[in-house]
Subunit: 179 residues, 2 copies
């Protein structure tokens, strides 16, 4: 898994439970599925979101921690001072495929995604402002495309859980109990 | 653009405005950004969602049509009878990278994504049930990863609009009026 070599964590800015009902959950599930261990979020502290993610982890396994941040910019500054590379995903950024090699030279990375309006401080503190397409689309898509291009492989197919899916063309759902 | 060779449309099943507030919008924006022309959705007819997408298209350009379907299964059956390949994205399906070559031999494709519970009829009618990872994650991620792997290239950077982003490392936002 990536985490053996890289420490790649995610920060989702400005979570708003009503507007973002499932968007932040989807961001977290994508991060988990690609093997990230830490998901930070700011905005509104949301126990409903946290429980949703906890339920998935309980059933499907994996070591995945979500943490609410009251002061996300201070957190990013501290991470940067500690040597973490700050990568901000934005449709206004540089094209990912032109920068991924450089980004991967750093083993500690914090990937930031926002909503529609990210304060300019994040554009400024970021070592890289990176776009996975210069069109409006989705922070969920941005995280998933970044992680896929970063890893150059698909989502992990199993974690340390009781349940595992056997990829299956017969259009039936199969669970397999893992030993 | 892909559409010159392939006709690749998207169907999002079972839209529920409260639960899916922004998920369906994100699915549509990802489809548009990757150059799809038609986005179908079923569930609840939602003028709020449609207006959101219309606003993006008005500003950022592109030829993108969204259509509400009252009877999505009948629509899928008709598409299949007309020779369209039905690809259902599901975490239970076969691994995309093993099937993408076969899928691309057909030039007309309907890509179906659901929510948590997709009726078994869709698993049955699909020519391919395809997973972009056998873990719970996101229909937005599934569409974006499928389209990226399908096209083997990133999101289009410009459409026929007045606005265009110049990919930019200087952490400033630049719009450029296209001639």
């Amino acid at each position: 898994m990536r985490q053996n070599i890289y420490k790649l964590n995610i920060l989702k800015l400005d979570h708003r439970p009503v507007r973002d009902k499932r968007i932040t959950t989807h961001c977290a599930l994508v991060a988990r599925a690609f093997g990230c261990s830490n998901f930070f979020y700011s905005g509104i502290n949301d126990i409903y979101f946290e429980n949703n993610v906890k339920d998935v982890c309980k059933k499907w396994g994996g070591n995945f921690k979500k943490t609410y941040l009251e002061k996300p910019l201070s957190f990013v500054k501290k991470e940067k001072n500690d040597g973490t590379l700050i990568v901000h995903l934005t449709m206004y950024g540089e094209v990912i495929t032109e920068k991924i090699k450089q980004i991967k030279t750093n083993k500690k990375i914090l990937l930031i995604v926002g909503g529609p309006k990210v304060p300019k401080e994040y554009f400024e503190i970021a070592d890289y402002n990176i776009a996975v397409g210069s069109q409006p689309h989705s922070e969920v898509a941005a995280i998933s495309l970044f992680l896929y291009i970063f890893d150059n492989k698909l989502i992990e197919s199993s974690f340390n859980s009781d349940f595992k899916i056997i990829p299956n063309k017969n259009k039936r759902i199969i669970y397999s109990q893992k030993k």
